[in-house]
């Protein structure tokens, strides 16, 4: 495959043509916030709307997870328009996420806590209303807790369960503000087909799925790939 050269935030980079801007940036040490995209998956759902970047010649910010790199491309991850969108998206997520970090078992691995300082957004959102979802917490599993109120609907758990493990025990249900990750028929995790393999818990970025002892392994899904010297 052809390689092309481009710049991201002024850094000159060579990459495979057609590779998505997000992966090229991450692999070159430039962080762009993201939640819903999975490198192993064929396509990004482009649902979390956090990875906006500006590309020279385009009048509107684009999502880095869907934008293929082309020769001569100039990408700016810090443009004001892109940052405004990413910040608003993150604020919207936080305004309906219970901010109880002090007691949260996932505090150490929480990706929201990593994105907040990157986007310079406070955890308590002043300009928006708190929109709690008031859903029941499921602690039926012996090993983990599922608190849908904390879920950011990134879909990582759904993908891992269905695509990587071929189980498909959890999936998205309902639409709009009611959209939620649930088991078939909304059964408690312990009673559903769940084999308690915990893979979903290891990929959850938000603390919605977390180990009861707060320890357990965490998998960094989209970790940068070492560049092969070419």
């Amino acid at each position: 495959m052809k390689t092309v050269s481009l710049t991201i935030d002024g850094k000159e980079i060579r990459a495979k043509e057609g590779e998505k801007v997000l992966w090229v940036a991450l692999d070159n040490g430039i962080y762009i916030p993201n939640l819903c995209v999975i490198r192993e998956a064929l396509q990004s759902p482009a649902a979390c709307r956090l990875c906006f970047v500006e590309v020279e010649g385009k009048d509107k910010p684009v999502t880095a997870c869907t934008e293929p790199v082309i020769e001569g491309m100039v990408v700016n991850t810090q443009g004001p328009q892109a940052l405004r969108l990413a910040r608003t998206a993150f604020e919207l997520l936080m305004a309906s996420h219970p901010v109880e970090c002090a007691h949260c078992l996932s505090r150490d691995s929480c990706e929201l806590l990593k994105i907040a300082p990157h986007l310079k957004v406070r955890l308590k959102i002043k300009r928006l209303r708190g929109l709690p979802r008031g859903l029941p917490i499921d602690s039926s599993s012996p090993l983990f807790i599922y608190d849908p109120n904390k879920c950011v609907l990134c879909g990582r758990c759904v993908w891992v369960c269905r695509e990587r493990l071929g189980i498909g025990d959890i999936s998205f249900a309902h639409r709009g503000f009611q959209r939620v990750v649930a088991t078939f028929g909304d059964e408690p995790m312990a009673r559903a087909r769940c084999s308690a393999c915990d893979e979903c818990v290891t990929v959850c970025p938000s603390g919605a799925l977390c180990f009861k002892d707060g320890k357990g392994p965490k998998e960094e899904l989209n970790r940068p790939v070492e560049k092969s010297k070419s």
């Binding site: 979390c48 608003t88 919207l92 929109l131 998205f172 309902h174 639409r175 709009g176 959209r179």
Partner: protein, 637 residues
């Protein structure tokens, strides 16, 4: 195409056409009366099936030699049920608001006797000396029917009617043309898609034709999820073959083998009539393998959607046909390149496809001569809300909103004042009086902050609150959001909460700025068109009616006296008639009682603001009024 193939096609169609024409002639020129009954959904809702039954029963009872035929909708929905009677010696006359009693009279007095019952007439179909004809109506000056032409005049369940009126001739013509030439013709016509966004149709066809990947698909988008929109339904119910012909031509042009026509299951009559049409077209080899004996094969399957607004979005519609939840995807790739099952897929709206046969028949030049610089042809609108003539209309692009609302629609009922018009459904926007002189087309509307959308027009008068209006439409989009992306799922919810508080007088001035900022971000940041257009109703009302928002927030006042929590009912003592107690009995919560002077007084604590008393108070007294804010109500004595 080889010459002998072409002659096979022409010969095959000649036979079909001759048969259709002789049946049509027999129907109209047998010396017997013909009765047409509009039985599209709008007619049925008004009771046309009972009328149809009565007519058929009467015809049988009186042993009349008279055909009673079902037709679709003529667009005069406000006067359904409509019956058209064509009796030799008379012009064809249309009757409105027909009920079984009137139907019986029409048979007895007009069919059997010689009294055309002029008191029920709406108009005649052709010019004559007795009755004013439709062409002499003021609205006729503005209307130009292209795709609605057959609607209400032919039986949608008889392919012969369609063929006798010139149907499928464009298809025959096209089968002798190279596909590139057809695409060129559509491009030259400058037809733009009528599904909302107005993408140039010919360009889309060309992209699909040049896309590699086989087989290719053609999809007709008949999801029509906007509240208040019913033009696609009307066309599918009244003239389904027009749509099918457009699809077959499109398929031939782009090289598609299979097609889907996507109709929501909530449109059972449209579903049924499309099924009948598909069967009849197949029987005559106008569809299926080797169409009319040519080398070209194309077949269409009907797909019933389960009626989600978001399923009208093309990528979502495609996933839904594939059997997955209807959730939009990022574009590109566009469906024309990679659509259904990853194959090139042409997706067009019902109306877009319906124009095709007319463009092929009359030529691109003819079409491009209608309309404005950037928007050619006609626009179909569904008129609803505070307008006298609700229903469908088709006018050339560039007609002003004033002409549509006041000349075609006959203005606002009840002597009320025009306030605004919501155009384009939930994705569109609210335009004020100053926009009435705006020539309507794709570009002028989006510049003004609305959009063509599906063509729904809701007229609003002085009694409509603009904040409440914005709330209503946003509630719809928020409810219909698929919920996958952050802006649309949570952003519209934030806006809805803020709007709700404003209508209750609990909003803060910062909320107005927050609404505007958030609206911009949702527009720019959402994944699909639903989210991208959801804030339009708020943005446009903020742009033109900001004072109303401010009145709610700063003064707790609803200028239109609509928002329940911000109004109070009051009986003007000077106007209340002592001997009258019309309001007292109607109040369901017994909040009204006479005082010692027998003047009626409303107990504010009990009143539930249902508006019943205001309606009950006789017009000559007109004593009941609304106040906003509620504390404006004088203390009762």
């Amino acid at each position: 195409m080889k010459v002998d193939e072409l002659s096979t096609i022409t010969a095959a169609f000649q036979g079909i056409k001759e048969r259709a024409e002789s049946r049509w002639q027999k129907l109209w020129h047998s010396g017997q009366p013909v009765i047409l009954v509009g039985t599209a959904t709008c007619g049925r809702a008004a009771g046309s099936l009972e009328v149809l039954q009565t007519l058929r029963d009467e015809v049988k009872k009186q042993s009349l030699e008279c055909q009673v035929i079902e037709v679709g909708c003529m667009g005069y929905c406000y006067t359904e049920p409509i019956v058209i009677i064509s009796k030799p010696g008379y012009p064809s006359i249309a009757y409105g608001h027909v009920n079984p009693v009137i139907a019986e009279r029409l048979i007895k007095e007009f069919i059997l006797g010689d009294n055309p019952c002029l008191e029920f007439v709406i108009g005649a179909l052709e010019k004559n000396e007795f009755v004013p004809s439709f062409s002499e109506f003021p609205r006729a000056e503005y209307e130009q029917k292209i795709i609605l032409k057959n609607c209400g005049y032919i039986d949608p369940e008889q392919i012969d009617h369609f063929i006798a009126s010139g149907g499928y001739e464009a298809l025959v013509k096209v089968l002798g043309m190279p596909p590139e030439e057809i695409i060129d013709e559509v491009k030259k016509s400058e037809l733009r898609g009528r599904g909302g966004a107005g993408f140039p149709t010919g360009e889309k066809w060309e992209i699909c034709r040049h896309s590699r990947g086989r087989p290719k698909y053609v999809i007709c988008n008949g999801d029509e999820g906007d509240p208040g929109a019913f033009m696609d339904r009307t066309i599918l119910e009244s003239d389904p073959h027009s749509v099918l012909e457009g699809m077959v031509i499109a398929a031939y042009a782009v090289g598609a083998r299979y097609g889907y026509i996507y109709v929501r299951a909530e449109y059972p009559l449209a579903v049924y009539r499309v099924q009948v049409a598909l069967r009849q077209a197949r029987e005559l080899k106008l569809l299926g393998k080797n169409i009319l004996g040519s080398n070209f094969s194309f077949d269409i399957e009907l797909f019933q959607g389960s009626g989600a607004f978001v399923c009208g979005e093309e990528t979502s519609l495609i996933t839904s046909i594939e059997g997955n939840p209807g959730i939009p995807h990022h574009r590109p790739p566009y469906p024309a390149v990679s659509g259904l099952y990853g194959k090139p897929t042409l997706i067009n709206n019902v109306k877009t496809l319906t124009y095709i046969r007319h463009i092929i028949e009359n030529g691109a030049k003819w079409f491009a001569a209608i309309g404005t610089e950037g928007s050619k042809g006609t626009a179909v609108f569904a008129l609803a809300g505070k307008v006298v003539n609700t229903g469908l209309t088709e006018v050339p692009m560039g007609t002003t909103l004033r002409q549509v609302i006041f000349d075609v629609g006959s203005g606002i009922p009840g002597g009320k004042c025009f306030k605004a018009v919501q155009i384009g459904g939930p994705s569109g926007g609210c335009l004020p009086e100053s926009a009435l002189y705006l020539p309507i087309d794709f570009d002028s509307l989006s510049k003004a902050g609305a959009m063509m959308g599906s063509g729904g027009i809701v007229v609003l008068d002085e009694d409509d609150c603009m904040v409440e209006m914005a709330h209503y439409f946003l509630e719809f989009t928020q409810w219909e959001s698929c919920g996958q992306c952050t802006f649309c799922r949570l952003g519209t919810k934030q806006m809805l909460e803020a709007l709700g508080e404003i209508t209750k007088g609990k909003g803060k001035i910062e909320d107005i700025d927050m609404l505007a900022e958030l609206a911009e971000d949702i527009k720019a940041g959402s994944l699909c068109g639903l989210g991208k257009t959801a804030p339009n109703s708020v943005l446009s009302t903020l742009r033109y009616f900001r004072d109303e928002y401010e009145a709610h927030v700063k003064e707790g006042r609803c200028p239109a006296l609509m928002c329940q929590e911000l109004i109070a009912y009051y009986i003007l003592p000077k106007k209340c008639e002592r001997s009258c107690d019309a309001c007292v009995g109607t109040c369901t919560v017994e909040a009204i009682s006479p005082n010692k002077d027998r003047i009626k007084v409303i107990d504010k604590e009990k009143c539930v603001k249902c508006n019943t008393c205001l309606v009950a108070c006789p017009l000559q007294y007109n004593a009941i009024v609304k106040f906003s804010p509620p504390d404006q109500v004088p203390a009762s004595r």
